[in-house]
């Protein structure tokens, strides 16, 4: 346990988790307000969603949001699983699995938006 705490890789994980979390406070706030409070009636219709995502700045912001939230989510999952006392070999495999799942999540999100925008 102590080894993990002074391990440089884990320090970088913590920094990345803290940084992504801080960015998410802003990005999630913008996302929540944009989706729930801006449009009349609160929620966007299908056409509202298309118009929203077709704005280049919005599309870029949502992609950045997706990447950062995925990084933060998987680092958090990793932290929870590490607390169950895994062997070094299992941690290594876990890192790989979570990395692949993270990339898959980001790819899925971007390809979904792309297919909707046609």
């Amino acid at each position: 346990m102590i080894n993990i705490m002074i391990n440089r890789k884990e320090q970088w994980s913590w920094m990345l988790q803290a940084l992504s979390g801080g960015l998410l406070v802003f990005l999630l706030g913008v996302h929540w307000i944009a989706q729930h409070y801006i449009v009349a009636g609160g929620l966007r219709t299908y056409q509202d969603v298309l118009n929203y995502l077709r704005t280049p700045a919005v599309f870029a912001l949502e992609v950045i949001f997706l990447i950062i939230v995925t990084v933060h989510a998987f680092l958090g999952l990793r932290a929870v699983l590490l607390d169950t006392g895994l062997s070094n070999q299992t941690i290594h495999r876990l890192n790989l699995v979570l990395l692949l799942l993270g990339f898959a999540t980001i790819w899925y999100g971007i390809s979904l938006v792309w297919s909707i925008l046609g």
Binding site: G22, T45, V49, T84, L112
Partner: protein, 124 residues
């Protein structure tokens, strides 16, 4: 540390006081939000079905049950986010002596923002 001790201590917040509650709330809200992330991405697939399917879904989520779930989501987001800022500060060595007070501030801020957010949500 014994693996069983680690796992048991997760589910016994009475053993650790305010700190343990803060840890538990942060972990549970985090795991809930991870689950919500995947659910959200899956639900957005409905957009592929065209305007009729999406607009029917929007009509569904305006129901009281879903508004209640939205309140739960907002509570989780606020608790996790604001407590996360507290953890970052503490991790950087800021406010170490006032961790407990900061956590109470987290709860008060989260409750206040939740109330404000839901009022705006319901009166939009």
């Amino acid at each position: 540390m014994n693996k069983r001790v680690i796992r048991k201590s997760w589910f016994n917040p009475l053993s650790g006081g305010t700190g343990m509650w803060a840890f538990l709330i942060h972990r549970v809200s985090g795991l809930g939000l991870v689950g919500y992330l995947f659910l959200h991405l899956a639900v957005l697939n409905i957009l592929r079905g065209g305007p009729d399917r999406w607009d029917a879904f929007v009509a569904l989520v305006r129901s009281p049950i879903f508004i209640g779930l939205d309140a739960l989501l907002l509570a989780g987001v606020l608790l996790h986010g604001i407590n996360g800022l507290r953890l970052t500060m503490v991790g950087l060595g800021l406010g170490l002596r006032y961790q407990k007070q900061m956590f109470w501030l987290v709860l008060i801020l989260s409750g206040g923002l939740l109330g404000w957010g839901m009022i705006k949500f319901l009166t939009r």
